[in-house]
């Protein structure tokens, strides 16, 4: 991942065209923006976009992924460049690691356990001690990834309840729902989780790893990048839970930022802009990294997480999932 390139967030419906070596973004109000192709790391589409083949081949040529979120914030797919950085030694080792069930389960367990610890950190609460204890026990007993996911589900239900106590009634989740999210809180979480996942997909594309050979999530669904789903887990609380808590405390979000219908909710146009701004600010927040001896942004932490798996594959360095240390 390079410092010179950026993620561009398109929150309004637009057309994406090619103009020489730039992308021309045409907005509904007839304003146009030109972005030099070499400035772009990836694009995140929060709304409808119309991309033609000239733009597409330019994106492809520059190895740029376009992430597409649907109306409800669910990750609905990506335009992924054909070219990748994969390398045979890394792929061989990645596929050996992920098909060895013992190693696979060990990593799946630590992903779930660390994610739970990160939820507790993000919610800054002692109300989840019991659920965590139960999770630890259930993880020890779990003998396949389905049981691990089940244990995780139990912990998550408790954690969403605790989060609800920190939110105003209109923003509460009342149970996690997707496709479509049933209320504002769920819509918010869907958007943020999809963006976290998209960041991980982009990070993985800068490594020789294959995004679909993973440890925890089922790899039966071909649309899923299992490894990206796995590695996004420990980061979700850092973004979803924390931003939601903060937005509630500071009253940044309003009812009008959402379009709620019976049993379904999504962000309004203004809400999309607001939420993408909240996420971008969060991604660029920096912390001091003790072994790199420099500040790293949250976005870079996602990239470093992907590199840990490269190290696991190349050098057998044990993988310890991300935990906030600050």
């Amino acid at each position: 991942m390079t410092a010179a390139t950026r993620t561009y967030w398109l929150t309004e419906p637009c057309r994406i065209r090619r103009a020489d070596n730039s992308l021309r973004i045409e907005r509904p109000d007839d304003t146009r923006v030109h972005i030099p192709i070499t400035d772009i790391r990836d694009l995140v589409l929060f709304d409808h976009a119309d991309v033609n083949t000239a733009a597409f081949s330019l994106l492809n040529h520059h190895n740029i992924t376009v992430h597409v979120l649907d109306h409800y914030g669910n990750y609905s797919g990506a335009l992924t460049p054909a070219d990748d950085m994969s390398s045979a030694p890394v792929l061989r080792s990645q596929s050996a690691l992920t098909s060895n069930s013992e190693q696979r389960l060990a990593i799946a367990r630590s992903l779930v356990h660390t994610t739970a610890a990160n939820v507790i950190w993000a919610l800054d609460t002692n109300l989840l001690a019991n659920p965590l204890e139960q999770l630890t026990e259930q993880l020890a007993e779990a003998s396949d990834t389905e049981q691990i996911m089940g244990a995780e589900g139990n912990f998550r239900r408790s954690s969403w309840e605790v989060l609800d106590t920190m939110l105003p009634p209109w923003l509460r989740l009342n149970g996690r729902t997707r496709r479509p999210p049933t209320n504002a809180g769920n819509a918010f979480v869907s958007y943020v989780n999809s963006v976290t996942y998209a960041r991980m997909v982009t990070a993985l594309r800068c490594t020789p790893l294959h995004p679909s050979l993973g440890f925890l999530h089922a790899d039966t669904d071909r649309r899923r990048n299992t490894l990206a789903l796995d590695l996004a887990e420990p980061f979700k609380p850092l973004f979803a839970e924390r931003i939601l808590r903060r937005a509630a405390a500071q009253k940044t979000l309003r009812k009008s930022d959402f379009e709620s219908d019976v049993g379904r909710a999504s962000l309004s146009n203004e809400g999309r802009k607001k939420v993408s701004e909240l996420i971008r600010t969060e991604l660029s927040t920096t912390v001091h990294h003790r072994s790199l001896h420099r500040k790293v942004s949250y976005e870079e932490l996602i990239h470093l997480e992907a590199l840990k798996i490269v190290r696991l594959c190349l050098e057998d360095t044990p993988y310890k999932p991300f935990r906030p240390w600050w």
């Binding site: 410092a3 390398s87 045979a88 030694p89 072994s291 870079e300 990239h303 590199l307 490269v310 190349l314």
Partner: protein, 168 residues
């Protein structure tokens, strides 16, 4: 053996070997952090504009800047400091060319930023030196374990830093 060592070693391999064997090991396994850093971009711009009469010779992995009559191997560097790595790289090119039957005279490294050139002699001694370097590179690449990290001060500017030092 990796794909790269099947097709021989390029200048990059030699450069990495001398900078840090671990870097060579990682590179040879196909992990190549994106190199679109400013220094690299600048190096390319320099290549395109400084010398116009040139023939790039492509030996697969190794691309030689240009070879003039009398078989002098030229290499242009955007850095301001001549280093032993640069010389080793040029000797490696001389070795590759001489294996193709070219009667190599010597090498010249150009440093346009400081308006200097460095001559790299070619002969039996230089050839032995180049062969030894090549052997070391093959040894590093063939090893199952990665070489250890350098003392971190020497990692400055290396594009593998996030990889090598990014774990807490």
């Amino acid at each position: 053996m990796t794909e790269e060592s099947d097709t021989g070693l390029g200048g990059v391999h030699i450069k990495y070997l001398l900078h840090c064997p671990r870097q060579l090991w990682l590179y040879s396994r196909g992990y190549r952090p994106e190199q679109r850093s400013d220094t690299v971009a600048f190096g390319e711009a320099l290549d395109e504009t400084t010398y116009t009469r040139r023939r790039t010779i492509d030996l697969g992995e190794a691309k030689i800047d240009w070879v003039t009559t009398g078989a002098v191997v030229h290499e242009t560097k955007s850095s301001r400091t001549p280093t032993p790595q640069h010389e080793a790289q040029v000797r490696h090119y001389c070795l590759l060319l001489s294996r193709l039957g070219v009667n190599v005279a010597r090498g010249t490294i150009h440093y346009p930023l400081i308006r200097r050139t460095v001559e790299v002699p070619w002969g039996d001694e230089a050839r032995a030196h180049a062969e030894e370097t090549e052997r070391q590179a093959h040894e590093v690449i063939g090893s199952h374990q990665p070489p250890p990290r350098l003392p971190r001060k020497q990692c400055r500017g290396c594009s593998y830093r996030d990889y090598c030092w990014g774990e807490l």
